[in-house]
């Protein structure tokens, strides 16, 4: 009996060892979270274009028209910027500055002009269809912004409504103006 009891105890000890071995084999899962962000962003790839419009006044034709603005010299031209925005709320706005005579800065004499007004329109091409924003130099400040959303395309700037304030003749000299196109990632 004593011997049997001892064996039994020994057997029980083995069982405990076996139970301990089962607990160490269970699988567990650890998790590593990887977080990041992409901010709303706009960028110009081509951010500066200069148009040389050449001679702005009519040089031939009816005598009464010679020396006055040849508007086609502006309205027939376009300038192509290139850019992109990566957010659905991105907007585009235009602010146009009049074309002024930079050589003759005094008040133009009666019958003459040194300022040319116009409307500039910038057109981007998101996949959903083109989006345009405009500004007239007749109104102070920039034009209303248009929502482009996500896009990466050329931004074509075109011109219309070229005119001098009173239709007079242009004072000779060098003329300069500019159009600013602003891409804003979010409002």
């Amino acid at each position: 009996m004593r011997s049997s009891l001892l064996l039994t105890v020994a057997a029980a000890s083995l069982a405990l060892v076996a139970a301990s071995g089962q607990a160490q084999a269970q699988s567990v899962t650890g998790t590593v979270q990887v977080n990041g962000t992409v901010s709303n962003r706009c960028l110009f790839v081509t951010d500066n274009v200069v148009l040389d419009l050449g001679e702005l006044s009519l040089q031939t034709g009816d005598v009464s028209a010679i020396g006055r603005l040849d508007g086609v010299k502006l309205t027939s031209r376009t300038a192509t910027l290139n850019g992109w925005c990566n957010g659905v709320s991105a907007t585009m706005a235009v602010e146009a500055q009049p074309i002024f005579n930079t050589s003759f800065t005094s008040t133009a004499p009666t019958g003459f002009e040194r300022r040319i007004d116009y409307t500039a329109t910038a057109t981007a091409s998101p996949s959903g269809g083109s989006v345009s924003a405009s500004d007239s130099t007749l109104a102070s400040g920039g034009g209303a912004a248009s929502t482009t959303g996500i896009f990466a395309s050329d931004i074509v700037v075109s011109f219309a409504d070229a005119a001098t304030p009173a239709g007079g003749r242009l004072v000779s000299g060098s003329y300069s103006g500019s159009v600013a196109v602003t891409l804003a990632p979010a409002t």
């Binding site: 998790t31 979270q33 951010d47 274009v49 419009l53 001679e55 074309i99 602003t182 891409l183």
Partner: protein
């Protein structure tokens, strides 16, 4: 313990990424601007209005009766309009050249006179009038030009006056012709400018 470690790793990732993302976002969210520059020029140009009338027909210029028969009659001042004349720059000069009113197609006989002098004046261009007085023997007298200090657009009037002969002799019979040339252009280069 294992879960606790996982939580610690997650916090560490957030702590590292958040400042980076925030810094990038602040830079990227500024609007960007593209510019289209417009350069152009307007050349210097002058236009002289078309003369109206284009010619002066003085008719009979000698007295047809009386004590001065055959001699130069009194000729009233004549005017020619040049409407819409302009130069689009400062410093443009107006000058007049004129030839005497001379008999054509024949030789002036002794005791007769075949040339009538006169004065041309245009007063509305510069501060002073442009003027010229013809001179017998000079086919194209050039007088004093007039320069405008600013771009100018105006209707010009050419006045032809003070007809006189060098001597109060009888006029050679025949047709008489004179030419007046008005030139508007750069002060230093009137001969090269349009007229």
């Amino acid at each position: 313990m294992i879960l606790h470690r996982t939580c610690l790793v997650g916090l560490a990732a957030t702590a590292l990424l958040a400042p980076l993302a925030g810094a990038t976002g602040a830079w990227a969210q500024d609007p960007v601007r593209g510019t289209v520059g417009l350069d152009a020029q307007v050349a210097q140009v002058c236009v002289l209005g078309a003369p109206s009338p284009g010619a002066l027909a003085l008719g009979q210029i000698s007295e047809s009766s009386g004590a001065r028969v055959g001699r130069l009659a009194t000729i009233a001042n004549q005017s020619i309009q040049l409407p819409g004349t302009f130069c689009n720059y400062a410093g443009a000069a107006l000058a007049i050249s004129a030839s005497p009113l001379a008999v054509t197609g024949t030789t002036t006989q002794a005791g007769f006179v075949g040339s009538v002098d006169y004065t041309c004046t245009i007063s509305a261009w510069g501060a002073t009038s442009a003027t010229v007085r013809t001179s017998t023997g000079s086919t194209s007298g050039v007088g004093s030009p007039s320069t405008s200090s600013a771009p100018k657009e105006t209707d010009l009037t050419l006045v032809v006056s003070d007809f006189a002969t060098a001597s109060d002799s009888q006029l050679q019979p025949g047709s008489y012709l004179a030419l007046v040339t008005i030139t508007l252009g750069p002060d230093a280069g009137l001969n090269a400018s349009g007229s």
